[in-house]
Amino acid sequence: MSAARPDSAQAPAADGGPGSQEDAPLPGPGEAEPASGAGAAAGPAITTSGLTKRFRGGQVAVDDLGLAVPRGAVYGFLGPNGSGKTTTIRMLLGLIYPTRGGVRLLGEPVPGASARVLPRVGSLVEGPAFYPYLSGRANLARIDAADRTADPRTAPARIDAALDRVGLLSAARKRYRAYSLGMKQRLAIATALLRPRELIILDEPTNGLDPQGTREVRGLIREIATDGVTVLVSSHLLAEVEQICTHVGVMRTGRLVFQGTLDELRSRGSRRIVIRTTQATEAAKTMAALGLPDIQSADGEVSAQLADHSPERICRELVLAGVGVAGLDTPRPNLEDLFVGLTGEGFDVDG
């Protein structure tokens, strides 16, 4: 399987979705915006066009990235550590200025309209970071106070609601310093929940969590997504996002090597046919005669790539050739294998 085919990565994310706007040319960040109101809700939640970041010193962290995250999607942003995910997320949120290209969140340019659009976006960037000498509640109050669009009168209630949602209400008065890693991570997620959001961007939200914490965070993301909020969650672990995502984007060395639905990713892999038989040699011979590629035989099983052949026909040919077929299976391709194929060796560098 040819690993990286960047040209195919630009495939529209929502296949044939109504009014898929990701092909529409993006106006420059400085251009006047039409009134953004209810009409903007139809457009994609995140688009980037030609997004490129070259750091001082010449290292290209992100190269010509064209993200397209449809509204309501749970988008798994995958790639090995160092593939440019965090740099991309920092550009999405206006922390880093792109060298070239532009970002649109909820139809608005970033950083041009950051003040208008970022209050509608909740985020967690590269792990939790808070004042160690303040309590969890005081830390959230500090973050909320920085939001010029937040109503100070509702702040105590909103802060407690966010703490409650991540299960930290009982530890609200504890100093951040005394929090466990899982609690710190949940406090960071709570900042994204301080007010209703249309988009939530979570960078490695389960980094450093134990399996229990990982499951909790996954449940939280699922819950957020059921409210119709678009979620972008980055990870270097496929298994982590596989269960919750509708869409995935895969990065490798700063480039997007795949973008689409999980099913589209699966369909990229060549399906195999697996025959259980005692006559392995004959089976392999028949398969070769049919022209099936990559025939492998082991432990009473013969497998081959299905290519364009139908399993029914292969089975009939085998039976006609006198091969006793004890079992036949066409397993779904292993996502993990597809993944390593896309991202190259060393995908799971610290997992």
Binding site: L95, A115, V121, A141, R142, A146, R148, P152
Partner: protein, 297 residues
């Protein structure tokens, strides 16, 4: 890059976009309140203020124990004046502490301002809120100025209280030999406090600018302090006479004009002009740097 930022801090014309939200001014005051609480509730900063209060008290006790009985003559030194009037302890304390301790306090707050947020990582959380880069910088600088003023007030109030407890209080004999009423003397103390707070505000602007260039608060604090002390040393080397009026610390001690009659206002105004120019230049540097820098911390 800075043009993009200009739109991030909404001008008056865009106020309609935020109509459903509290006014921009009220939002900013909320951010400033949060900054002030952060600085004034932090144990380290309270300890700094405690040291600033303790030093004049120790100074007063030491001088009381060493003081000769009886008043000083005309054109006598600060120390001699003290024996005649406790108000002078405020001037002595400011004169001694402006050399190192007050700049240290301002260096800690200003050097830590941006670099501290960057090193904790809280900067990225504030900016994605979004706090707005210009808006955050303005709140930080106002907080530094308020802290500098508070530091000066703490020194002066502690010194006045100690002076009143250990020395006689009454009409104040100035350095020029004239005597003014106690009220007039206290008014001059107030002006001295404000003048020194102006000097600290200028130093704070330098600290804020340095703080935007690094993620290491200790490095920023040390740099501010080295600059202040270096400038004070250069100010005492005769060979540097031509550049001395332009040094940031050159006018710091000129508040003693306020202790003479008539008051030498032209010197005071030149000092205040120097502070203002330093504040404007270094706030501009901080703004230019902070609004265009990538936040990778």
């Amino acid at each position: 890059m800075s043009t993009a930022e200009a739109t991030a801090a909404p001008p008056a014309g865009q106020a309609g976009q935020l109509a459903r939200t509290p006014g921009a001014a009220r939002g900013w005051l909320r951010l400033l309140g949060s900054e002030l609480r952060l600085v004034f509730r932090r144990l380290r900063n309270l300890a700094l203020l405690a040291v600033l209060a303790a030093l004049p008290i120790l100074l007063g006790i030491a001088l009381r124990l060493a003081a000769p009985r009886g008043g000083g003559g005309p054109e006598s030194s600060f120390i001699d004046q003290l024996a005649g009037n406790g108000v002078f302890l405020a001037f002595i304390a400011i004169t001694i502490m402006i050399a190192l301790v007050l700049p240290l306090a301002v260096a800690v707050i200003s050097g830590d301002s941006m670099a501290g947020e960057a090193s904790l990582g809280t900067l990225r959380y504030l900016l994605t809120v979004p706090a707005g880069r210009t808006r955050l910088l303005a709140a930080k600088y106002v907080t530094i100025v308020v802290f500098g003023l508070t530091a000066c007030c703490v020194v002066v109030v502690a010194a006045l209280a100690t002076g009143a407890a250990l020395f006689p209080i009454g009409p104040v004999t100035l350095l020029s030999g004239n005597t003014v009423s106690l009220g007039q003397g206290l008014l001059r103390v107030l002006f001295v406090t404000l003048y020194v707070a102006g000097a600290m505000a200028a130093l704070g602007a330098i600290g804020l600018a340095i703080s935007t260039f690094t993620e290491h608060p200790i490095g920023a604090i040390a740099t501010v302090l080295v600059l202040a002390v270096g400038s004070e040393i250069a100010d005492n080397i005769p060979q540097f006479a031509t550049v001395q009026p332009y040094l940031p610390t050159h006018w710091w001690l000129d508040f003693d004009s306020l202790l003479r009659t008539p008051i030498d206002t032209s010197t005071l105004l030149r000092g205040l002009l120097s502070f203002g120019i330093y504040a404007v230049i270094f706030c501009s540097i901080a703004w230019a740097r902070f609004t265009s820098a990538d936040v990778t911390a």
